[in-house]
């Protein structure tokens, strides 16, 4: 083994010690990440399987694992997707304003504020959501039910506390907004001057320039930023646990007082009192969340990959 390596080394160009050390440390760093990920996956699987296989009378929730986890998956996805739907347009708008419209000083101030929002702990958002936003939204929800009640999303009856899945999604949207905005801003700023000028010289207005030069260039970056935001929204625990009044149902009704819970919030709220196989079931639900996040990332990669020819990277 060593002799093969040493002959191979003789034939290749000599490496410098600095290169070797750097190569070694970066490989070690990369392997650490892989090992951590594998370790988490292994733990979740081993601890989770008994929970999956447990019969209804062995666990506290009294149902099979599938019946238990499906509403949670539904709630997790619904809250995260709603949050993204609310946050992405705003984030892109704010990022574009900062990068291309605002005067320089205002732009940097706004940039700082956005970065600051990202640093606020999620429990603070939770307190804000429960003590201010939920109450403030109660009249909005009854208005939504009165005027848009024919849409199943707003069928009502509206919650009296305002602690609905929609409120939770709005809190989540505010939380993921700075992440998406900050990334989009950086990407928008990197749009090649050459492409912006090409658009302007054709007689594009500023908005048309954004559509011709900035958005196409930033496309894959916007998707990546959104996926990071989605990751945060899927995994966010504290704010959802505090804001949402959950009852483990599957419903698209966004404003009523019966709401689906999310996996992360459910784990946080029930883990302390759980014993035996119930703990394993909760860990298994964590594994499901892990898998969802994985799938989401793969999907994002695939979307970016699909239009590689046109990405401008070649």
């Amino acid at each position: 083994m060593t002799s093969i390596q040493s002959t191979a080394r003789k034939r290749s160009t000599p490496t410098r010690p600095g290169d070797r050390i750097f190569r070694g440390t970066s490989i070690a760093a990369a392997l650490t990440i892989l090992a951590t990920l594998a370790g988490v996956a292994l733990f979740l699987t081993i601890e989770g399987i008994p929970g999956v296989l447990a019969s209804p009378d062995e666990v506290k929730h009294g149902t099979t694992f599938i019946d238990y986890v499906v509403p949670l998956v539904f709630g997790t996805l619904l809250a995260a997707v709603l949050a993204l739907a609310l946050a992405i347009p705003v984030a892109i708008g704010v990022a574009l304003y900062i990068s291309h419209y605002a005067p320089r000083r205002l732009a940097s101030t706004l940039g700082y504020i956005i970065d600051l929002l990202a640093a606020v702990p999620s429990v603070v958002y939770g307190v804000w959501g429960i003590s201010f936003l939920a109450t403030a939204l109660v009249p909005v929800y009854s208005w939504l039910e009165r005027t848009l009640g024919f849409i199943p999303l707003f069928a009502g009856p509206p919650s009296a506390t305002g602690r609905t899945i929609l409120t939770a999604s709005i809190v989540l949207a505010v939380m993921v907004l700075p992440v998406i905005t900050a990334l989009c801003r950086e990407i928008f700023l990197q749009t090649p001057r050459l492409h912006e000028e090409a658009a302007l010289a054709l007689g594009a207005t500023r908005w048309e320039m954004a559509r011709l030069a900035i958005f196409p260039y930033a496309r894959s970056g916007i998707i990546s930023a959104s996926m990071l935001g989605l990751g945060r929204a899927l995994g966010e625990t504290m704010a959802v646990a505090m804001v949402l009044s959950a009852s483990g149902v599957i419903t698209f009704n966004l404003i009523s007082s019966t709401n689906p819970s999310t996996i992360a919030a459910n784990i946080a709220l029930t883990f302390n009192e759980a014993t035996g196989l119930t703990v394993n079931a909760l860990i298994a639900s964590g594994l499901v969340l892990f898998l969802i996040t994985f799938l989401v990332n793969f999907a994002a990669r695939a979307i970016v990959e699909r239009r590689k020819d046109f990405s401008g990277a070649n």
């Binding site: 090409a198 658009a199 302007l200 010289a201 054709l202 011709l212």
Partner: protein, 259 residues
Amino acid sequence: MAKSIDVSDLNIYYGDFLAVEGVTIPVAARSVTAFIGPSGCGKSTFLRSLNRMHEVIRGARVDGKVLVDGQDLYADDMDPVNVRRMIGMVFQRPNPFPTMSIAENVLAGQKLNSKRMKKSEADDIVERSLRSAGLWNEVKDRLDRPGSGLSGGQQQRLCIARAIATQPEILLMDEPCSALDPISTSVIEDLIHELKKDYTIVIVTHNMQQAARVSDTTAFFNLAGVGQPGRLVEHGPTEKMFSNPEDPATEAYIQGRFG
């Protein structure tokens, strides 16, 4: 279609810095005018002030008059967007939109100008523009492929096709061949000769032979000194400028005895 340009007493600033001072020059319709001069003398800056692209840079401004067929481009009620739609521009480095196909690139300006187009109409514009730019035969089978997959010379001709697709009055070219090999350069020079029939062309070049080959009129820009603004030294018919210029600085520059 092609229009003449009349510039009088144009001062061009970057913030407080006067970059180009007091340029007065007429440009005849359907002719090629070449701007030559050392780097940093304001040729490109002046060219960019002819379609109001100069002011895209923060703090950049202009005073003076630029008349296109008697219409002042810097009049208060003039929208720079409309000015740029009327005056096409080709840049130093080829800059097709990388996310668009060849055909979409050609139609990019068209889509800004008019909202809806029939498919046949769009196809006609693509073919006509690419033919005018001498690119049609090379790309007609891959119009839906990305423009960034073409060679540098082809990309530059694609940019020319994009600029003339909207049938502008004037075509500005900022060192269009500086990033290209001699063969692509000669293709583009031939193209300039062709385009002259329909467009007023203004070209900035560092290549003296190119100026001599393509232009009818040549204008020589120079710096008055270090830290001084650039200015137009003289302009005249290309033949005279290259054989018997009036200013000794022009002669020195053209003969390569500069600096």
